[in-house]
Each structure stands twice: as C-alpha cells, then as structure tokens.
C-alpha cells in the first residue's frame, strides 16, 4: 500500500510528477545531450515558469545547482570576501554559519531563540559585513520570519541579503527588492525527487562576486558564479546536470501556474489552520512556536511527550509524519503542508490527531 508522506522534505511528490516522469521517459529526456537544442529549450521553459511563478525580476539570474546545501557554499565562495553575518535560530541557519567558517571567513553569528526568531538591529552586526543571512522558514523548528520583518531588513543595511526559502517556497511570495540571494531545493514545496537546488541571484550579488574575482581570490571552479552565469545565458549548465529534475521542475511550476498561485496560497492557509486547530484542541500536542506571526504555514512543528507513539499510530494508518530535528527528535513531530498535500489528506490527518488516545 502506498503511504502518504507528510515529512518536511523529501515529502510527497506533487500529484502530477509521476505522469511527468513517464512522459520524460517517452521523450527520452534521460538520453539527450546537455548541449543540444532540446536541452536548451527544456531549460528555457523551466526558467520561464519559475520566473512567472515566483515573480523573479529580469535582471536576477536563475541558476541550477545540486542542492541548497551546495548553494550555501557557493554564496560564501563567490560573494563574501571577508565577513558575513548569520542570524541563527535553528539547525539550518546554523549550518550556513558553519559553512562560512569552513571557508575561513570572519563569520558573525547572532543567536536567537529558536522559538522566537530574529530581531534585526543594525547595531548588532559588524560594519564591514558583506552579507546578512537569514532563514525565512526554519525546517528544523517550524519558525517562519514574517514577510514584513524580513523585507524591512533592506532599509537597515547595504550588505547583501541572503534568504533561505528552502521549505517556504512557493507559498512564500518573496519581494526581490529586499533580497540578493534566494534559494531552495526541489524536494520540499515543489514536491519533486531530491537532487536539484535553485539559486536566484541579484545584480548586487554579481557585482560583489566580480570584485572578489578581480581581487584574485579563488571563487571555486565549475560552479564559480561567473561560469554559472555565462552558461545560464546560453540556457546551459557548466557540468552535465540533473536534466530529469530540471525538466520536472518546469512541468510542476507550469502545473502550479495553471492551478493558480492564489488558490495554492488559499489552500495552504486553510490546511495550516486545520492543523493548528487540531493541535490546539489535542491534549497531547502544543505548537512549538507560540507566537502566531512566527508559526510556519508550511512546516508545522508541535511539542509532545508522545512523539514516537504518534508517529507509530499514524504510520499504521498509512501516514508518514516527520520526527523532531536533532535534539528534539523524540519530543517534536513535524508535519509538512506543501502544495502536494491535498485538503482532504490534511483534514484526515487532523482528524487522526484529534482521535488520538494515548
């Protein structure tokens, strides 16, 4: 029997993916050359669908890499000469900070409570910082930074702003006037098999890269930002990429556009309300993030002394939900609410949560 995956990534495949994979096999997408016209057309389609779906400005580059984890590294290698500042309030924002240390940058960490999230205040960061990093949606805790706070950061700094939107997109409607780096991987909100990361880069970030390059610092090799951009302008990638995944991302983005982002947004809000209501009513559950403004709509995390039992009970009903992350493995459960999860599935899951007798 097939299971319903509510894990926060990899998660359920978007409901059209299976058919697109079959079409890809019929179209022999796995065999085409990454230097052929067939590939450049496929690449252009995916880029165009993403630009429409996420309202990406024309002067921003859309680049395909292998994971969001890789993109942390490429941001640091290419766009930070000396100093970066990292707001950390969970495992993934912490890992980006560690990446900067791994590359021997003078990285500044501003630690905030993982249940409360960051406060942006210019007195806190080094005057010489080149980049400020934050996580729009912490997959490890279910904390979301409200759009209005995130986008207010632009007025406080001239540094590059890097936003990890791995588990927030496509629900999160980014305002690119406030962002220099936006990135995600496809196995979360886009409902695709893992193996592709997307890096969206502003002209300001490119200017920072050019300066570092000219100064003679190493900026990596095949995924040097200049190489990536040069190939992207030809609708190609420096290496043979995950062609299948670039194809699938374009198809799913097109499906989402056809469905309409307004409907996807409304459904996401409705489904998250259903889940938070069930959590509120359950004697066994408590939202880990208390302030409503910080409660993620896409990764819902609850505290519970019965995490293991609840995961087991739901598994027996064919539903796979996530355990807590890291130190919270046995005291949290995490539930993804992505476009791949239907209203009916989420309602059923909420009913099961309300029916728990432990």
């Amino acid at each position: 029997m097939k299971q319903l995956f509510f894990t926060p990534g990899p998660s359920a495949l978007y409901f059209t993916v299976e058919q697109h994979i079959k079409n890809a096999l019929n179209e022999q997408i796995g065999a085409i050359s990454h230097r052929s016209n067939t590939f450049t057309q496929l690449y252009s389609h995916t880029e165009s669908m993403l630009r429409q779906l996420l309202h990406i400005p024309d002067d921003f580059h859309v680049l395909f890499l292998s994971s969001a984890t890789e993109i942390w590294e490429r941001i640091i290698q290419n766009c930070v000469m000396h100093e970066s500042t990292h707001y950390t309030y969970g495992a993934f924002s912490e890992r980006f900070y560690q990446t900067a240390l791994d590359y021997h940058k003078k990285a500044q960490k501003l630690v905030y409570q993982e249940q409360e999230g960051p406060q942006f205040n210019p007195v806190d960061w080094s005057k010489k910082t080149e980049l400020i990093a934050l996580t729009q949606n912490e997959t490890s805790t279910g904390l979301s930074v409200p759009d209005i706070e995130l986008h207010a950061l632009r007025d406080l700094t001239t540094a590059q702003i890097a936003v990890d939107a791995v588990s927030g997109l496509p629900y999160y409607q980014a305002d690119f006037t406030s962002i220099d780096h936006l990135y995600f991987s496809v196995q979360k909100g886009f409902g695709l098999p893992a193996g592709l990361g997307v890096w969206i880069v502003s002209p300001k970030a490119v200017a920072a890269y050019r300066q570092i390059k000219e100064s003679g610092h190493s900026t990596g090799s095949y995924h040097d930002l200049g190489e990536l951009i040069e190939k992207a302008e030809k609708k190609q990638t420096p290496e043979t990429p995950n062609v299948f995944s670039i194809y699938l991302l374009g198809k799913v983005a097109e499906d989402m556009l056809n469905k309409g982002m307004k409907q996807i947004l409304n459904e996401t809000i409705y489904k998250s309300t259903v889940l938070y209501e069930a959590i509120k009513q359950s004697p066994y559950l408590k939202p880990y993030i208390e302030a409503e403004k910080n409660q993620s709509k896409t990764v819902i995390v609850t505290e519970t002394p019965y995490a293991t039992e609840i995961i087991q009970v739901l598994k027996a009903k064919g539903m796979v939900i996530g355990s807590g992350y890291g130190k919270n493995k046995n005291s949290h459960i995490r539930i993804a609410n992505f476009p791949a999860h239907s209203k009916e599935q989420i309602e059923l899951l909420a009913d099961y949560l309300l029916d728990l007798r432990l």
Copy 2:
C-alpha cells in the same frame, strides 16, 4: 518515434532503467527521508553492488557526489595542499588541470598529443607533486590509456594517482592497487540519467586529506572528505542527495552482475571491432586515434570531412550519434559503445556507416 542514442554521454539508458524508474515510483523512493532506514538500505545495496562489480577493496571509500566535474574540485580541495601534476591530452584532462589552477594550486601540466596519449616518466614531474592525474578514456577524443601503462605508473611515484574513468567504466577493469582516486558519472557506461558522480578513494588519499585538514587549510564544507566519509559510514550523505539516482545505480549494477561482467566485456570488444572495421572500410571515415592500443573500446571517434552530413543521415534513420568535441565539432563523429548498446544496434549502425553514399 523513439531514437537510438549513441552519443558519448548522456547516452542511451540501460535497457532496464525504465522499469526500475516505474518500480521506484511504486516504492515511493522520491518521498523517503534520506535519514530513514529505507534510505540506508538502498544506499548499502548500491554500494555493495558497485563494490562487487568494480572489485573495490574494502578499505576504499565509495562516495556519492553530484557529478564527475564536482569530483575534480573535491579532489583538489581535499587532497592537494600545494602541487598537482596533470597529464593532458584532450578537453577533459585539461579541465581537471584548470580546476587545480582555480584553487590556486601550483599545477603542472604535461601536454601530450591528443592522438597519442601520455608517456609516464618520473623526470617530467615535480619532486613535490602530491597527485598525478590522468584520464583513462578521453571522451573528447576516444583515446584510451592501455591498462598496462596506466597501472605501471604506480611503480614510478609515491604521489596519489587520480584516474578519470568517466567514459571507460564498467568496461575498464581498474586495478585498485595502482589507484588512489577513481571516479565516474552515471550517464555514460552505466546508462542512467545524469545527476550523480561516484568517487572511490584510497586510504592513502584519506591520509593526505587528514594532513591537510590538520594543517588548518580549508577543505570545503559539506563535501569535505571527512564529512563525506563520516556520513558514508552511516550509509548516508551530508546533504539530501539524488536518491532516485543512487537507487537506479544499484539496480543497474545488480543487473550487470546478473548478466555477468565477462559477457559485457566480450560484447564490448565485439561491438567495438564491428565499428572499427566499418570505419576502416568506409572511404569517408578514418579512426582519429591511429594506434590500436590507444583506441577506446567505449568511445569511438572518427575523423571525416562529412561529419554534419553523416550525423544527419543517421538521424533520419533514428540514430543519434555525437559530433566532435570542441574544435573538432565539424570534423569528427563520436560513437558510444556502452553496455546499453546492443550488438544488433551496433551492427545496424555499422551497416549504415558502410552504406553511406556522400
């Protein structure tokens, strides 16, 4: 109508891949967590099949990255502190050399004729070189380094030896006593969709990494060799990997083991003989690599003044062959002879080559 792809990578999918992809969808491989038991079992299976197929010693690590292009970078970042030596005789060996320069290494280039290949002589390389890089099978030219010459290098140096076997495996039967780094990507001889590279690493290479790490040099971040090994020992990867591809590689390696490597080797030799015979007999074609000992059995490259016409004629018959690489785009054709290409297909292709009237 489906086409037959004889391009030298991406190439035709191995004949069982389509069914394995359908099975993977049924088994929900695209949705499973990369930290789950299901994943670690899948990973173990793939590793085990590869170890059997390629006779990888127990003390070598088998690591999954995103492409062979990435592996060039990781070898340089992790295992070369100051100096590396690169035998170059084609586009891909040249790119590995460029990667070393990108990371500001003192890289030495030993340039050989691309039609003749390298001669190994210890007087040629710097006494302080830490790594000697060569390409077992140059995909750009169809030059293959004879096993006996390649493996004789071990007696000439104590430096690490890195062998690019991207388009030679699994036909090439590596002797790991002579190799510290062997790597490939899956879209060539393994007949899989692109998006995965495999890096096989010796204890000596790991020792070199440990020394560099201890000296305080940066060795990258998530794909730092230590991180990769630590996760590999748990049958995991540092990031969410291309799970689908790791699954498919295990299944195809298993199919090849079941078929028997002896038969695959014999068929490869037979098919390459058929192709070289047709080339010899054709008035329009001439093998680019003259010495038989250097003629690749897996990527067959011929010179011809009619490259564009021949590619068109074959395309009209449903066969896609490769153009020349780089500067040879219009004066070469390249034909892959991988396990995915059946004897019947290659015989038919050879007949078409003999029937050419230009």
